[in-house]
């Protein structure tokens, strides 16, 4: 019986799912509603100079990278399973889209996190 490689993607799915469950709503509110409307948080909370400083700090880099990458890898396995549940054959094409795109985004995020403001 062939051993499944699911553990890799399942672990990433789990980490992303937990992170998005624990702090995702707050982030969505602040970045998408609070800051644009000046509701509960200041409208200039995310102004350029402050965000640049955040992205230059090692902790800021980790947070930004972790949130983007783990949220994407959480969605990767779930969307792959959803495609199968809707009757789409779980073949190479589905795998390329579901796991290839998050991989590209992860690499891009790593690149920008490491080079922004340097």
């Amino acid at each position: 019986m062939k051993r499944s490689n699911d553990p890799i993607f399942w672990s990433l799915f789990g980490a992303g799912g937990m992170l998005s469950a624990l702090i995702g709503a707050a982030l969505v509110f602040v970045t998408g509603i609070g800051v644009p409307l000046g509701l509960l948080v200041s409208q200039d909370l995310m102004r350029y100079q402050r965000m640049l400083g955040f992205a230059q700090h090692w902790l800021g880099k980790i947070i930004v990278f972790a949130v983007i990458a783990l949220f994407l890898w959480h969605a990767a396995l779930r969307i792959f399973h959803m495609l199968h549940d809707f009757g789409v054959h779980a073949g190479t094409g589905a795998k390329l889209v579901c796991f290839g795109l998050p991989l590209l985004c992860t690499i891009a995020a790593a690149y920008w996190v490491l080079t922004t403001g340097v």
């Binding site: 995702g24 998408g32 990767a76 549940d85 009757g87």
Partner: protein, 136 residues
């Protein structure tokens, strides 16, 4: 025996639209579908990161786009989806854990769910409080 075997003609039923057959399945699909907007939000942040690396003008363009009513309305939807994700995540989580015993008695699965939801609400409010307290 073989005469009876020849007469067998098992009928295989279609799985098309299986998830519409019961509200339980629809809730499952809704739970799975939350991941789509989780991914969309991550991409929005990724674009912001890219714009940040391109300099102030580019970044401000991204920030201004977030201010549009369409974007704010969309983020309200994303927020609702994240809330459902949080709830459904902790609802299924006890299934992934072996039974926990507290002093001899089984910890009921709903207790794990409610603990998780409470921790999630507290942590989300904590993040919000921290960001509310950031000095101008």
């Amino acid at each position: 025996m073989s005469a009876q075997m020849d007469k067998r003609r098992p009928y295989v039923r279609s799985m098309a639209g299986w998830w519409t057959r019961d509200p339980y399945y629809i809730r499952y699909m809704a739970m799975e579908a939350t991941s789509v907007l989780v991914a969309v939000y991550a991409v929005i942040l990724l674009v912001g990161l890219a714009r940040l690396s391109q300099g102030e003008a580019a970044y401000n363009g991204w920030l201004d786009a977030l201010k549009s009513p369409l974007s704010v309305g969309f983020h309200v939807l994303i927020l609702l989806v994240f809330a459902y994700h949080t709830w459904s995540w902790f609802k299924i989580m006890p299934k992934t854990m072996p039974t926990i015993y507290l002093g001899g008695t089984k910890l009921p699965q709903p207790a794990i769910t409610w603990t998780g939801v409470v921790v999630a609400v507290v942590l989300n409010l904590l993040v919000l409080a921290i960001l509310m307290g950031v000095k101008p």
